[in-house]
């Protein structure tokens, strides 16, 4: 929407006032923990654009019935008017008393799309059809929640930056059964998604590492001893994908290489170049974490103020990536 300067001048106070009114009218209180029951006072209802058109059509029919004195015209007009009133109740009821809770959210890398799962539970003995869920009022996901059942809905939310991503205020809405009314409720669930830094692309060799295996013999980098395949996780280096298997039409697999559990690899903030900037350095560290994990090395992470001792395995990978995601650089 384009605003003329005068409106632009007024728009800030207007927006503040609007937000205030919205908070009061729609009872917006920020995120709520646990499940949210869509009780009566949470649900709002207005005629839809089709509903307005319907009212217009009814007025036309009423005028026609009066003019031609058509008794059955009156009957029809009034039946349709009653149907409209009924639609208000039905649409309202279609949303009422649903229970919404947040499900698990898998962490994603920055730039990907997080899928917030929402458990919509229908504790009543009434089937609910065409419940829409939307964040931005443009793209909506529709689902049915049959009587005494729950449905899981994945709400895609783009995750542009690392850190903690919240889905914000979701709108649950419905037009069912006639499309004449629009009933909606807001749900701001206390759920979050960890967004890892986007791993740096391209070949970034792992830092040189000390090997303390007690024997004094230096082993290879751990990227040479093929140990097996596991299913692909987002963020795995493309170099380790079993492309031959993929070409055969199988699911993406990642090659795993045996390293030595006692190989101590330290992924250190200080080992990254200052010129990369905070996010660049974190991206590189993320790359290293993934590569080291793929190489089945035991690795530790050193960030200013955080030290994660070396360990191998998936848990270590997630721990490290989470630390990178949530890292707050202290102003020097």
């Amino acid at each position: 929407m384009r605003l003329t300067p005068v409106y632009a001048f007024l728009s800030a106070p207007y927006r503040a006032l609007r937000a205030h009114i919205d908070r009061w009218l729609f009872q917006l209180h920020g995120p709520e923990a646990g499940h949210i029951v869509l009780v009566q006072r949470r649900i709002f209802i207005l005629p839809s654009r089709h509903g307005m058109l319907y009212v217009g059509a009814l007025l036309l029919m009423l005028t026609g019935s009066i003019n031609y004195n058509l008794s059955l015209g009156f009957v029809l007009t009034f039946l349709l008017a009653a149907q409209g009133v009924n639609a208000i109740l039905q649409t309202f009821r279609n949303l009422a008393r649903l229970r919404v809770a947040a499900g698990r959210v898998a962490p994603v890398f920055a730039g990907d799309t997080a899928r917030f799962t929402l458990v919509v539970d229908n504790p009543s003995t009434l089937d609910r059809f065409s419940i829409g869920i939307t964040r931005d009022k443009h793209d909506a996901i529709y689902t049915d929640v049959l009587a005494l059942q729950s449905t899981i809905v994945g709400v895609p939310v783009p995750a542009p930056q690392r850190g903690v991503l919240r889905p914000g205020r979701l709108t649950l809405f419905t037009h069912f059964p006639l499309g004449l009314c629009y009933a909606w409720a807001y749900a701001e669930l206390d759920t979050q998604c960890i967004v890892y830094p986007r791993p740096e692309a391209g070949r970034v060799p792992l830092p040189a590492h000390d090997i303390h295996d007690g024997t004094g013999i230096t082993r290879g980098s751990g990227q040479e001893d093929f140990a097996g395949l596991r299913s692909y996780h987002p963020g795995d280096s493309p170099r380790h994908i079993a492309w031959k298997a993929a070409a055969r039409g199988e699911a993406l697999l990642t090659k795993q290489f045996s390293g030595r559990a006692d190989t101590e690899l330290w992924l250190d903030w200080r080992a990254t170049s200052d010129t990369l900037g905070v996010d660049g350095r974190l991206s590189r560290l993320a790359r290293w974490v993934i590569d080291a994990h793929t190489a089945a090395l035991s690795f530790g992470l050193r960030l200013p103020g955080i030290t994660l001792p070396p360990a191998p395995g998936d848990a270590q990978r997630e721990r490290c990536l989470e630390a990178l995601a949530l890292f707050q650089p202290t102003p020097a």
Partner: protein, 655 residues
């Protein structure tokens, strides 16, 4: 908010096409064939486009079809705006709109047009069968609307119809309240199209030889009568007075264009008959009453020749209370101009009749004797009654009296009146209906178009206007038991007017009785009836304000009750199905001393339970796995919930 997802599928198109076809179907018999063909072709085209996912036709093509159709409609009807032509236009536009329908919003507009088309059907017929069919159509249209709203899964058309049916049923109480209490306004609000009520049958203000014959074979109802007292008057006294003809041009009789609303009086010779007439709309002004009416119903006037004229033409069924006197003596004084008018004969037409009249009058002693002589001539010479008389030429009365000598009421009345006027006896022709069929099922009288009749009134000094029915002289059964009893055997009659199918006749009377109740209760619910209803509930001077207040209070109450009933279902809550199933499982094990400790997790409990009852290990394992997955897993699948329930239901601690 609008939905960006305006998904529009084949099934939506199919439902919409079905709805529109149903609602348009009754119009087919009234539309020119080419419009029906065009609409059908466009329907098929739209279905084809939807079926194969083709592109919709281009705008210029539709515009060309629209322009061509409008031209065609103008040629067919001679106008664009009118009832019939308007519906033709609506039909073409509807089919064209269908051809450019691409989104759900277009489809909703079509739905609303479909509802509107239902009303256009009522312009032609408001009978019970129409009402039932249209209710079905509304059901289908609403179900189509419901179908548009299934965004996730498609539960199938029975479900769709069930939801729509439920909505309509729940709407019934509110509809009834609105119908009864919504303040009615006397229409029309603006001028109706000229052809708004064409095609109705009935008497006209002119009577030429043969003009009644199409009425005499019509079994359409003219009006229905409820008598106050149980004993209805005898058939030979049931003369329902209609238009009175004064002027004769040698061929055609006609009623005066300007009726005289002068009050006249007569002396009643019996107790008044009280009755209620419900007259079908016939597009003319007159109302029917038994000879002679004693008052004029509301919004109508009584003319000096005892016609009842309504203030406007009758475009709707009208119900009015009447009082009549069947035996009476006219006051005997008539203004001079009236008597002169009743003697006028044009130029030199029908010379034989004039000659005959002079001859017969000279042989009679007085007017009364002359009348009897003429009636005697009809009775004793070879005059016959038939509903299919020979055609008559330029001097119809001469031809009738000299050669054909066969006809029905119209011919006899006309000949008799001319004979009277030629002999100096003032005479006028009264048209109307004679007799009527008593419907024993509903206990009222049906007067059909076939009961149309014409008789004569002559002015006798000292007695005034006196009714003479020359047809009764020829065919006395005509006034005793109707036109078709008077017809000789062997003449073709409408099937339902024949006497031999008694059960058919009985069924027909039952049906007419139902139709009559429908007309009275539903279609006859007018401003006056609404007033009566308001009086009955204790509001004497119902203004529209008070009616709206009553209406809104009732609507509020009904909506509240409906809302409570509907929302009550929401509170029939059950506990979380997963927790409930697991609790049942634990309860079963607890009966065997295997109680789960509050602090014990499901996995720990599974291990302990399996150790104690190894024979139940598979079942315990399945249930615990499902429960753990549902409670702590990433996704609670509906299938898992039902699997858990089934497993718990099948779980028996004793094998």
């Amino acid at each position: 908010m609008t939905n960006a997802i305006d998904r529009f599928h084949l099934r939506h198109v199919a439902w919409l096409l079905a709805s529109l076809a149903l609602v348009a179907a009754p119009h087919v018999e009234r539309l020119p064939w080419w419009i029906t063909l065009l609409a059908a072709m466009l329907f098929v085209w739209r279905g084809y486009v939807a079926l194969y996912g083709l592109a919709l036709p281009r705008k210029w093509m539709l515009l060309m079809i629209a322009a061509g159709s409008l031209g065609g409609i103008y040629i067919s009807y001679g106008r664009i705006l009118g009832r019939d032509s308007g519906i033709a236009v609506l039909m073409v536009m509807l089919a064209l709109k269908l051809m450019e329908m691409a989104t759900l919003r277009d489809a909703m507009v079509l739905i609303f047009i479909a509802y509107f088309l239902v009303i256009t059907n009522f312009l032609y017929s408001q009978t019970m069968p129409t009402a039932v069919f249209m209710l079905f159509v509304v059901w289908v249209i609403t179900a189509t609307m419901v179908g548009f709203q299934f965004r996730a899964r498609q539960p199938g058309y029975p479900y769709q119809l069930r939801i729509a049916g439920g909505i309509l049923l729940q709407s019934a109480p509110l509809m009834l309240v609105l119908f009864l209490l919504f303040p009615r306004v006397q229409g029309p609000l603006w001028g109706m199209p000229q052809d708004a009520f064409s095609g109705v049958t009935g008497l006209s203000e002119e009577m030429a030889p043969g003009s009644l014959s199409n009425l005499l074979t019509s079994d359409a109802v003219a009006f229905r009568v409820n008598f106050e007292s149980a004993d209805t008057p005898p058939p030979q006294l049931l003369y329902w007075r209609g238009p009175v003809m004064w002027d004769f041009d040698g061929y055609t009789w006609s009623a005066p264009r300007v009726p005289y609303p002068l009050p006249r009086s007569y002396e009643p010779l019996d107790n008044p008959v009280e009755y209620t007439v419900t007259v079908e709309p016939h597009g003319k002004r007159w109302l029917f009453a038994l000879d002679l009416p004693a008052k004029a119903p509301p919004r109508s006037t009584l003319t000096s020749d005892y016609q009842l004229l309504f203030q406007t033409t009758l475009t709707n069924r009208l119900r009015y209370d009447m009082i009549s006197h069947l035996r009476y003596r006219d006051s005997g004084d008539a203004p001079r101009y009236e008597l002169q008018r009743a003697l006028r004969l044009p130029g030199t037409s029908n010379p034989y009749t004039r000659e005959l009249a002079r001859d017969m009058r000279s042989r009679a002693t007085d007017d009364r004797a002359y009348i009897n002589a003429v009636l005697g001539m009809f009775r004793n010479q070879n005059f016959s009654y038939t509903t299919t008389p020979p055609l008559l030429g330029a001097n119809p009365v001469d031809e009738f009296l000299q050669t054909t000598r066969a006809g029905y009421c119209e011919h006899y009345a006309s000949a008799f009146a001319v004979l009277m006027r030629a002999a100096g006896v003032p005479a006028r022709i009264v048209t109307g209906y004679q007799g009527g069929e008593l419907n024993t099922v509903g206990n009222y009288m049906i007067v059909r178009q076939a009961d149309a009749h014409a008789w004569v009134e002559v002015w006798l000094a000292g007695e005034g206007w006196t009714r003479v029915d020359p047809t009764a002289a020829v065919a006395p059964t005509r006034v005793q038991s109707g036109a078709f009893a008077a017809v000789p055997q062997g003449e073709a009659l409408p099937l339902l007017l024949r006497g031999e199918f008694r059960w058919l006749h009985r069924a027909r009377l039952t049906w007419d009785s139902l139709a009559n109740s429908w007309n009275q209760v539903v279609l006859g619910y007018t401003i006056e009836r609404q007033r009566e209803l308001m009086q009955r509930i204790g509001i004497d001077d119902a203004t529209w304000q008070s009616m709206i207040t009553v209406m809104f209070i009732t609507i509020g109450a009904i909506t509240l009750v409906l809302a409570l009933l509907m929302l009550r279902k929401l509170h029939s809550q059950r506990p979380d199905p997963v927790a409930a199933a697991y609790a049942r499982f634990c309860a079963r094990l607890a009966r065997h001393g295997m109680t789960r400790h509050p602090s014990e997790g499901p996995d720990a409990f599974r291990k302990r339970a399996t150790a104690a009852r190894p024979e139940l290990a598979p079942a315990i394992g399945t249930i615990s796995d499902l429960y753990i997955r549902l409670r702590y897993g990433e996704q609670a699948l509906a299938e898992d919930i039902s699997a858990l329930r089934r497993a718990v239901a099948a779980f028996r601690t004793r094998a």
